[in-house]
C-alpha cells in the first residue's frame, strides 16, 4: 500500500492505495466520482479522460500513485461553484453533440485541453485534436460543431480581457454533482 494525497475537483483526499490501482478506479471506486467512465483497456477510447495538473490524461493509463501530490479535474468539477456549466458542456447540449453520453466526459475534457492550446481551431484541427476519443453514436459532426461553438463563445467571453487566456484552465473549486 502506498499513501497518496490528491486534490480532485477541488477536494483534497489522502488514501492508502495499492500501487497497481488505476487512477480511474481510484476516482470511481474509492471516491465515488463515477462521472468518469471506462470504455476500453487499450488507451483508445478516451472515455476516462480527466485533467491531471493542467493536462488531459487517460485516467485508465495512469496509476493513482502517479497522481500523488497532483490535482485532478473531472467532468464533475467543470461547472462553476454556482452550477453554471462550462461553455463546452453548454455547447455539447445545444449542438446535440451527444447521444448515449458515455464518451461525453472524455470528449469534453479532450476538447477543453484542445481549446487551451488552440483557442481558435479549424474543423480539421478539432478532428485531429479529438483523435484520442471514440464516439459510436454521433458520427462526430455535432461534436466538431460543439467544440467550434464553445471556442467562439470563449473567445467572445475573453475578448474584453486580453491576457486572461489561461483563466479557464484553472480547476474549479467545487464539484457540481454528487456521486451516484
Amino acid at each position: 500500500m502506498t499513501r497518496i494525497s490528491v486534490k480532485v475537483d477541488g477536494t483534497a483526499y489522502e488514501d492508502e492505495v495499492e500501487p497497481r490501482l488505476l487512477l480511474v478506479h481510484y476516482l470511481r471506486d474509492r471516491l465515488g466520482l463515477t462521472g468518469t467512465p471506462v470504455g476500453c483497456d487499450t488507451t483508445n477510447c478516451g472515455a476516462c479522460m480527466v485533467d491531471l495538473d493542467g493536462k488531459s490524461v487517460k485516467s485508465c493509463s495512469v496509476l493513482a500513485v502517479q497522481a500523488d501530490g497532483g490535482e485532478v479535474t473531472t467532468i464533475q468539477g467543470l461547472a462553476s461553484a454556482d452550477g453554471e456549466w462550462h461553455p463546452l458542456q453548454r455547447a455539447f447540449h445545444e449542438q446535440h453533440a451527444l447521444q448515449c453520453g458515455f464518451c461525453t466526459p472524455g470528449m469534453i475534457m479532450a476538447a477543453r485541453d484542445l481549446l487551451r492550446e488552440n483557442p481558435d481551431p479549424t474543423p480539421e484541427e478539432v478532428r485531429e485534436g479529438l483523435e484520442g476519443n471514440l464516439c459510436r453514436c454521433t458520427g462526430y459532426m455535432n461534436i466538431v460543431r460543439a467544440v467550434l461553438a464553445a471556442a467562439a463563445e470563449e473567445r467572445r467571453h475573453q475578448a474584453p480581457e486580453p491576457g486572461a487566456v489561461a483563466e479557464h484552465a484553472e480547476p474549479s473549486t467545487a464539484g457540481s454533482g454528487a456521486p451516484v
Binding site: H25, T42, T43, H93, R127, L130, C135, T138, G177
Partner: protein, 797 residues
C-alpha cells in the same frame, strides 16, 4: 393538429434540445457499473482461450485460496440452477437448436466461451483469482469457414447435431426465376462478403444482480436495450418466477443491437446472487467484450441479376451463407431473414429467388447489429445496380431511375411481398444530386482519368429503402418469431397537471425522453417541460417490447400519441361534466376544453386532472381517472428511404481512400425532432462507412480473434470521418397517425454501398470490378495490381 387553431407552436417538428443531456454532460450518470449496493461482490469470468476444445478437467479450488475470494464455480456447479440461453427465433421447423449453457460444462465452442466464475470482494481480487484456476483442454478442430463447415466430413461445432447446417430458409416470389432468366440479355453474377463486425457500443456491458432484501424481488440491473424481454427470458433461464424479478436498464451507453440480447452474464449474476444471497456485479473489459458480446453481419452473398439490354431488371437470385457463430442467441437465425425481403430494394422486377443457409462455426455468436439483415441486402442490390450500370455503359443513377417504383405507384407491393406505403425516390434523388454537384464531379472524374491522375475520383450511389418499425405481430408469427411486435405506453395525469409518460421503449442514446415529451405535449396541450418520460424499469413500466429495429418512434412513439388521445377522450367526459355541457359541444385546443360558442366556459386539462384527483364531483359510473394506456401493434412495417451519394479520392499508389464529400437526402416521413433525426443519420453514416472502410473482426486459422482489442479493431475517430451534408424530403407514412418512419438504422443501411460503389467507381477504368470490405489500402492496392496483370496490354498507370 389541434394546436394549429390557437397558434401554439406544435412541439412535433421542433428541434428541441434534449432533456437527457443535463446529467450526461455533467457526469451525473447512472451507468450500470456506477451502481453500488451494500455488500456488493464482484464477478470475473474465466474464458476459453481456445476456439474448440473438450474440458478434460477443471479445478477452481485454488482460486478460493486467493485473498478476498468468496466463491468460485465451474459450469457444472452452475448448471443445476440455470437453463440454456434462449433463441426466440427458430426460423424453420427443422432448425438445429443447440444447447447453450451460460457457462460451458464439457466443451467450449469459441474463444471467450465462459468456463468458470469467481466472486470476490473487489474487481482486482476477482481478476487475480482467475489466474489460479486450472483447466485442461483437449483441443478439438476449429470450424471457421462456412463453406468448409457445410462440406461432407467437416468437424462439427455441435457433434450431437450431426451437422453444421443450422437451417435453410427459402423464398421464391413472382415468376419462376429460371424462366425469367432465359429472357434476359444480361446476367450478372457476383459474390460479396459481409465481413464480421464488432458493434462497439461505447459503454461495455455490465450487470448488477441483487437478491431479495426488503422486497421479495430480485433486481437485475443490466446494460441492456431490452429490460422487458430480459425479464421474461431470465425467469425462464433461472427459474426465478417472473413476478419476483425486476429488471432495470439504467443509463445505457449505446447498443446498436449488441445489447439486444439475453446474455449469459445476466443469468450468471442472478444465479450467483441466489447462491450467495449477496449482490454481485460483473463488468466486461473492452477486449473481453470483443469475445463475449455478440458480433454482427458475416455473410457470403452469391447473387445473380438478370436484366434487359436497356437496363430493366427481370429477376434476382440470392444465395446466402450466414454465420451463426457457435450458438444461437436471441434472434441470431432471424437476422439474415430481416434482409430476405429487402434484396429487391426499391426496384420492380418479375422474379425473386432467395435462399439463406445458417451455418455454425466456432466463433462468437452473431446477432443483430445496427440494421440487422437490411444493410446486407441493401449492399447487395445497390452494388449490383452499379455493376449493371457498368455492364451496360449506363449512368448509375439512370439505371436506378429505370427500375425504381414511381412516386405515383404507391402503395406498391414489391416482388418481395412487402407493401411500401409511401415514398418519393425521384424527389429525394433529384435533391441529392443537386446538393452533391453530381455533374461537376463526374466531369472532374473524367478529367482525372484522362490525365492519368494517380489520385482517382469515384462516385457512389445508393438509393435505398428499408423495412423497420418491428413489427406487426401477425407477420412475426408467420416468420416464427417468438414474441409480438407491439409497444406499450401509459400516461399518468398527475394532480398538479404534470404528466408522466411511461414507455415500453428502452432508449440508450436515442432521445426518447425528449421526443416522447414533444408527442405527448402536443396531444395534451401541456408544456413540453411538464412532461416526464419514464422507461427502462420493469417495476415502473410493467409492459414493453423495448428498443431495436428502428421501432421506437413508429411503434412506441405512436403508442404514446394514442395513449395521450385516450387521456383527452377521458378528460373530455370529466370536462363536459364540470362545464355542464355535452361532450359533443366541447372543443379541445391547446390544453383547454371550451364550450362551443361560449369560449368563457372552459377548463384546462390540468384543472380536469385535479378535479379527477379529488373526484368530489364526478357523475355516477365514471371511473375517477383520466390516465390511459395504449398498446400499439403496428399495422405495417415502416419504409424510410433516401438517396446517398459519396465521392471518394483513391490514391492508386497506396490504395488509400479519402471521402471527399458525402451527401444524403433521407425521407423518414414526418419528423418529430429534426435535430435528433439528423444526429441519428450522422451516427448511422459513421457506422456504415466504418464497415466499408475500416472495421473487421478477423480470426486466425486456430480460431483466435486477432482483432481482439480496440487497438486492432479500427473504430474510426473524428479524424477518420468527413463532414456530412444531410437533407430530407418528407413523404408521410400512411400507416400510422403521426406519419413517421424509422430512422435509427437508415444511415448505416444506406452508406456502406454508397462508399464501396464510389471506391469501385474510381478504380473501374483501371480494371477493378470489386473490392472486399473493408476496402483497406492493401486490398485496393492488390485489386489494382491484379487488374493490371490481367490486362497487361493496357499498360500501367
Amino acid at each position: 393538429m389541434t394546436d394549429q387553431l390557437t397558434g401554439r407552436e406544435p412541439e412535433v417538428g421542433r428541434a428541441r434540445v434534449r432533456k437527457e443531456d443535463a446529467r450526461l454532460v455533467t457526469g451525473r450518470t447512472n451507468w450500470t457499473d456506477n451502481i453500488t449496493v451494500p455488500g456488493l461482490l464482484h464477478i470475473a469470468i474465466l474464458r476459453s482461450p481456445m476456439a474448440h476444445a473438450r474440458i478434460e478437467r477443471i479445478d477452481v479450488t485454488p482460486a478460493l485460496e486467493r485473498p478476498g475470494v468468496v466463491a468460485a464455480y465451474t459450469g457444472r456447479d452452475l448448471a443445476e440452477g440455470l437453463g440454456s440461453l434462449p433463441c426466440a427465433w427458430p426460423v424453420t421447423e427443422d432448425i438445429v437448436l443447440p444447447e447453450h449453457p451460460p457457462v460451458a460444462v464439457d466443451e467450449v465452442r469459441h474463444t471467450g466461451d465462459p468456463v468458470a466464475v469467481v466472486v470476490a470482494r473487489d474487481r482486482y481480487a476477482a481478476a487475480d483469482a482467475l489466474e489460479a484456476i486450472d483447466v485442461d483442454y483437449e483441443p478439438l478442430p476449429p470450424v471457421l469457414n462456412m463453406e468448409a463447415a457445410l462440406a461432407e466430413g467437416s468437424p462439427l461445432v455441435h457433434a450431437d447435431k450431426g451437422t453444421n447446417r443450422c437451417y435453410t430458409w427459402p423464398l421464391a416470389t413472382g415468376e419462376d426465376y429460371a424462366t425469367v432468366r432465359e429472357r434476359a440479355d444480361v446476367v450478372l453474377r457476383r459474390r460479396f462478403v459481409q465481413q464480421r463486425l464488432i458493434p462497439n457500443a461505447m459503454e461495455p456491458r455490465a450487470v448488477v444482480a441483487v437478491p431479495p432484501d426488503t422486497s421479495d424481488q430480485y433486481t437485475l440491473y443490466s446494460a441492456t436495450q431490452i429490460p422487458h424481454i430480459v425479464r421474461v427470458m431470465m425467469a425462464v433461464v433461472t427459474g426465478i418466477p417472473e413476478h419476483r424479478l425486476r429488471v432495470v436498464a439504467p443509463d445505457v451507453g449505446g447498443g446498436f443491437g449488441s445489447k439486444l440480447q439475453v446474455y449469459g452474464e445476466e443469468a450468471i449474476g442472478l444465479a450467483v446472487a441466489r447462491k450467495l444471497g449477496r449482490p454481485v456485479k460483473w463488468t466486461e473489459s473492452r477486449s473481453e467484450g470483443y469475445l463475449a458480446t455478440h458480433h454482427g453481419r458475416d455473410q457470403i452473398q452469391d447473387l445473380e441479376l438478370a436484366a434487359t439490354r436497356d437496363g430493366r431488371l427481370l429477376g434476382l437470385k440470392v444465395d446466402l451463407l450466414a454465420d451463426m457463430g457457435a450458438y444461437l442467441m436471441i434472434v441470431t437465425p432471424g437476422v439474415p431473414l430481416l434482409g430476405a425481403f429487402m434484396f429487391p430494394g426499391i426496384y420492380k422486377m418479375d422474379a425473386y429467388d432467395f435462399t439463406c443457409t445458417g451455418v455454425f462455426t466456432t466463433k462468437t455468436p452473431t446477432d443483430a447489429y445496427r440494421g440487422a439483415g437490411r444493410p446486407e441486402a441493401t449492399f447487395a442490390i445497390e452494388r449490383m445496380m452499379d455493376e449493371l450500370a457498368a455492364e451496360l455503359g449506363m449512368d448509375s443513377v439512370e439505371v436506378r431511375r429505370r427500375n425504381w417504383i414511381g412516386h405515383d405507384e404507391f402503395p406498391y407491393t414489391t416482388i418481395g411481398g412487402l407493401t411500401y406505403d409511401s415514398g418519393n425516390y425521384e424527389s429525394a434523388t433529384d435533391k441529392a444530386l443537386a446538393l452533391f454537384g453530381y455533374d461537376d464531379l463526374r466531369s472532374e472524374q473524367r478529367k482525372r482519368e484522362e490525365r492519368g491522375d494517380p489520385v482517382r475520383l469515384g462516385i457512389g450511389v445508393s438509393t435505398y429503402t428499408e423495412m423497420c418499425g418491428l413489427a406487426p405481430s401477425r407477420i412475426l408469427r408467420d416468420l416464427r418469431y417468438g414474441a409480438g411486435g407491439w409497444e406499450a405506453a401509459s400516461i399518468r395525469m398527475l394532480p398538479t397537471g404534470k404528466v408522466e409518460v411511461l414507455t415500453g421503449t428502452s432508449p440508450h442514446g436515442q432521445g426518447h425522453v425528449t421526443s416522447w415529451s414533444q408527442i405527448a405535449a402536443d396531444v395534451l396541450g401541456v408544456p413540453f417541460e411538464d412532461v416526464e418520460v419514464l422507461h427502462g424499469d420493469t417495476r415502473t413500466v410493467p409492459q414493453g417490447m423495448d428498443t431495436y429495429g428502428s421501432r421506437s418512434l413508429v411503434v412506441g412513439g405512436v403508442a404514446v400519441h394514442r395513449a395521450a388521445r385516450k387521456v383527452v377522450d377521458k378528460a373530455r367526459k370529466v370536462a363536459a361534466h364540470l362545464l355542464e355541457a355535452s361532450e359533443d359541444d366541447l372543443d379541445f385546443a391547446d390544453g383547454v376544453f371550451s364550450v362551443k360558442g361560449s369560449p368563457d366556459a372552459h377548463k384546462t386539462i390540468q384543472e380536469v386532472a385535479f378535479a379527477t384527483f379529488t373526484s368530489h364531483d364526478l357523475p355516477d359510473g365514471l371511473e375517477p381517472t383520466i390516465n390511459a394506456e395504449h398498446v400499439e401493434d403496428p399495422e405495417a412495417f415502416s419504409y424510410p428511404h433516401g438517396t446517398h451519394l459519396c465521392a471518394v479520392e483513391v490514391d492508386t499508389e497506396t490504395g488509400r481512400v479519402r471521402i471527399r464529400s458525402y451527401v444524403c437526402v433521407d425521407d423518414v416521413g414526418k419528423v418529430v425532432n429534426p435535430m435528433i433525426v439528423e444526429g441519428q443519420v450522422h451516427g448511422g453514416l459513421a457506422q456504415g462507412i466504418a464497415q466499408a472502410l475500416f472495421e473487421e473482426a478477423v480470426y486466425d486459422e486456430e480460431g483466435n480473434l486477432v482483432s481482439g482489442t480496440m487497438a486492432d479493431y479500427l473504430v474510426p475517430c473524428a479524424a477518420d470521418l468527413p463532414d456530412f451534408l444531410t437533407d430530407r424530403t418528407e413523404t408521410p407514412a400512411t400507416t400510422n397517425p403521426l406519419g413517421v418512419k424509422g430512422v435509427g438504422e437508415a444511415g448505416t443501411i444506406a452508406s456502406t454501398p454508397a462508399v464501396v460503389n464510389a471506391v469501385v467507381d474510381a478504380l473501374r477504368p483501371l480494371g477493378v470490378t470489386d473490392v472486399r470490405m473493408p476496402c483497406t489500402p492493401e486490398r485496393i492496392w492488390r485489386a489494382l495490381r491484379d487488374a493490371r496483370s490481367a490486362r497487361p496490354e493496357e499498360g500501367s498507370s
